[in-house]
Symmetry: D3
Subunit: 223 residues, 6 copies
């Protein structure tokens, strides 16, 4: 994780996990969407996208196709929900933080890398706001980190790369707070339904993976 | 659940759960999408939508807005993955079953009602195909049912209606096969992250809820 | 015609004509479109749509295609013009009634069934508004009903089902008020132009058909 | 009506009626749409559009808005149905004629001017095809002309200009063949429903107006 | 160049160059875009489009395709920049002039004909505004004219028609003010890069071509 | 310029000029667009885009807005024309090279940086193809490099950064081949038209700037 990768953004980080590289940028705006005005509360929003040649074969640009695909929107919504778990809207004041997570290169786990990086960019943007007196109290009430886990050859594995992801029988994305509670659990059977035992093993593995990432985030943020 | 609600569809069911009413229609097409041709395998696809006045206040039509929203696409993808867990593509042959789940009235749990009903419509459509000799062997290798569970006032509850859904601290959708294994587990903290104990309680409740629905599906299908 | 089919809508009716089933919902909004503001006048608008499997073979969803088709918009405009003939905008006050006509199953005459049902839903919505003191005087100044008539095998026929519609030499939709005057007359030659004698025969038949529907509407509305 | 206004088009006419000016261009294509292939039959299609400053105040371009409006599509469909009444598809062979009717200036009656002009452009395009041996037998089996009639101050009037159109109580577009039969009859009450007597008076007036235009078309085409 | 070709527009000209015919209409609006409000400054904007049958073979309508193509937008932007060089926004006041350049027939040089005509329509619209006291001082501070030049068979040529344009080795569009300075220079090598000598020859030719057009514009405007 | 910045792309370079950072990726596809099939010729295409937070303030994503803006398409077309000047389509065979130029950070001159980088990515992709025997003869027949020049405070300047770009009186983008000939010359007066003397000074400066970049490209490519 390289903080401050961009000159203009109020918070930014280039996060690399294996072959996966995601550029997370936080943009501060001193207003909120219309439906939120005059509430005294802030807002945090996220968008996820992939460069056309992030993957093994080129994908057509979504701006050219005319709309973001279903997968893109689903991941954007997941990232948004995850980072919103970290924020006290009242302390944020009527400000919006936009988090842009652009996958420059993909090798499995792009959505979880995006969440983990988005938190760091958000923390930096909030620090930037705090210095300028835009906040009241502490808007950052938790940290989040995310991992993907899966069952490959009948065995629970952490951080699947693309080649493993393709053959996984179950694929699960888990988002945890820094104190080990769950924000999101999304498990999908690919091919073969999974039983409660497998689910429990995956949850254990995910929780310990998130804890490691939380430590890494703290180190990068110098806390 | 009223089977055969539509005259034209190869399978159809009007499913009612509390105030929620979803019309599920299965359409058989004797070909597959282009990327699947000459594979000898079939395909199953699903689309979810809501009538403008299904809800308390009118929503603008997505055809007028020009595109299905992110939530709509996410649910369509979830239903598709769920029903695909029931199907042996080889036995289905190069045929496609389209499942259309249209919410006529919404009062919480529309996505899980849609999955539970879509399975029944799918089963009828496959029976229709079997009679016409379009299948080889048995394409229907499992059943699926889905419930929504949530934590309301610190307590795990099954099948939240809209009023409960709004105040739930955690919201989870679980899709199970008829033999009690998991196809999808999607849990989201609304407001407050949840711990492993709460997660376990929700999973127990969901599993028993799905088992009841499975029994109901069997009864409706006369099995 | 089943009134009150929906729990949330201010007026609703499920209308069945032969195999055709249309769900008409009226939604009351206590404001008007921007171009109408501060005029003291209300507005009534209508949208027509068809579920993908309403017909014999599945049609792609218009939200997925990205826009309502020309036929859909043309029918929506026709329904809107027809129901607006019933309304005194001044008595309606600065409120809007949206009429959503969704075809659940189609077997000919969907647009005329939609108009006939939309009037009933509108009447119920206006009654709902009257009870809440949202109107001044009586906004409902007329009733409308609509039929489709056609020439099949050289003979004028009322209410064509789909099979007859396909072979009709002339197809005409007529919208009449309860007192027998015309709101819309739309006749189209399919294949062979029609002469004045045929036109007169169709108009006679349509007028008597509309009169029957008007009686039915009154009965349903308990007037 | 000035024939041959365009150098490239196989048939073209600039038609002027009062302040209304419509440029009608016929384009011949030696193939048919996919759904029509290998049928031995031809096809005729029409599109209507208006330049942004054809009217008193500028309208936004439909290409910029991203879609043709409902009114535009409805008129395009009307023109298409009208000119298709003139054509024997078998004699046309597997060729398509596209008719583009672009309103350069609008002062009432643009859709009826477009139909009247489109027939002339179509006749020229078919003559062009005949010379090149693209047809078998005579594809042009009828002529069509159209007028708008209306009730203004309680009196039936032919060819309303924009100022009259705005105040008309009833507005009717009638398309007739050269031998006086009807292809389309579209009457709409604006404000006040009309009775059978008014309808009859409008139909009489329209029929005689179409007959005059038919004579004019023959003269322009040198027949 | 025929001034006043349209009755409604505040300025209009039909410009013909060889086979090319472009209708330029200027529309005055007594407000400015939102980002420009309360600045005391006016705005000028331009849109370019081509009728489907302006060219040798029919092009699909951009409204039907759902968006203006890249070439269309690029030319609209070029025309806008060119005519904005003529205007003192302060003297124009908070008014907008929209310039619509619609190609009725194309035979090379449509974008340069559009610029040359748009200036005349703009001049007329500004005269119309001046008469109504909408301006303060003189908003028209320069004139612009444009030519296309190219290298055909190794030789610099002015005003390429379509047939020449296709075989040109270099294609250059030049926009000059009435006093001979440059507003835009856009040269593109088609096939073979060009050297400084060729570039200089093209610039000389273009400057003299623009001077001739400037004289023509003055004559048409009666100055 | 860092070559090989991406693992998957057949050619890639991260080019930095001042604060501007553009990631250029070349993707090889062993087929050509439909209109080019069976011609024996290859094709090269380019797309340009900017990440939302590349600039000082965040821009909305073009995929969310539903279409690439006019500026984006204009630059994509410019890059495409520029790199196509380097290629012998016959030697390339029926293959396509897609060049994606994504601006990660913008500080002036993004389009010229994109062209300069795209050439290097293209050269690497063609080398990759040559090794696999996909080409016949040498497809790379020239190199291209591009600079932006402008008049700031009456003086010609090379490589304007964003702050200078904003105040430039004239802005010119020039694309040259490695042997010093011109592929594109695009000069635009911002505010004040420019005369021939200024144009000549800008062209001299641009030519020498391109020569320097050509030397740099050779060094990076190890030639």
């Amino acid at each position: 994780m390289q903080r401050g990768w961009l000159d203009h953004a109020e918070g930014s980080v280039l996060i690399e996990f294996g072959g996966t590289r995601v550029l997370c940028a936080a943009s501060v705006q001193d207003s909120v969407p219309r439906w939120r005005r005059d509430s005294g509360l802030g807002w945090v929003t996220a968008e996820y996208a992939m460069l056309p040649r992030a993957t093994n074969t080129r994908n057509e640009r979504e701006s050219v196709k005319g709309r973001p695909g279903g997968r893109t929107q689903e991941i954007s919504r997941l990232i948004g929900r995850s980072v919103r778990a970290c924020v006290d809207y009242k302390a944020l004041g009527e400000n919006t933080v936009h988090l842009d997570c652009d996958v420059l290169q993909a090798d499995g786990g792009t959505r979880t890398a995006a969440i983990t990086g988005a938190y760091v960019a958000l923390a930096d943007a909030i620090a930037w706001m705090r210095e300028r007196g835009m906040t009241t109290g502490e808007p950052l009430i938790a940290s989040v980190a995310a991992v993907s886990v899966g069952v490959v050859d009948g065995e629970a594995r952490l951080d699947l790369c693309y080649a493993e992801d393709v053959v996984a029988q179950t694929d699960m994305n888990v988002v945890c707070t820094g104190d080990g509670r769950f924000v999101e659990v999304q498990g999908t059977a690919e091919g073969r339904p999974f039983d409660r035992g497998e689910l429990d093993a995956l949850l254990d593995l995910a929780a310990s993976g998130c804890a490691e990432l939380t430590a890494l985030q703290r180190e990068v943020l110098g806390r």
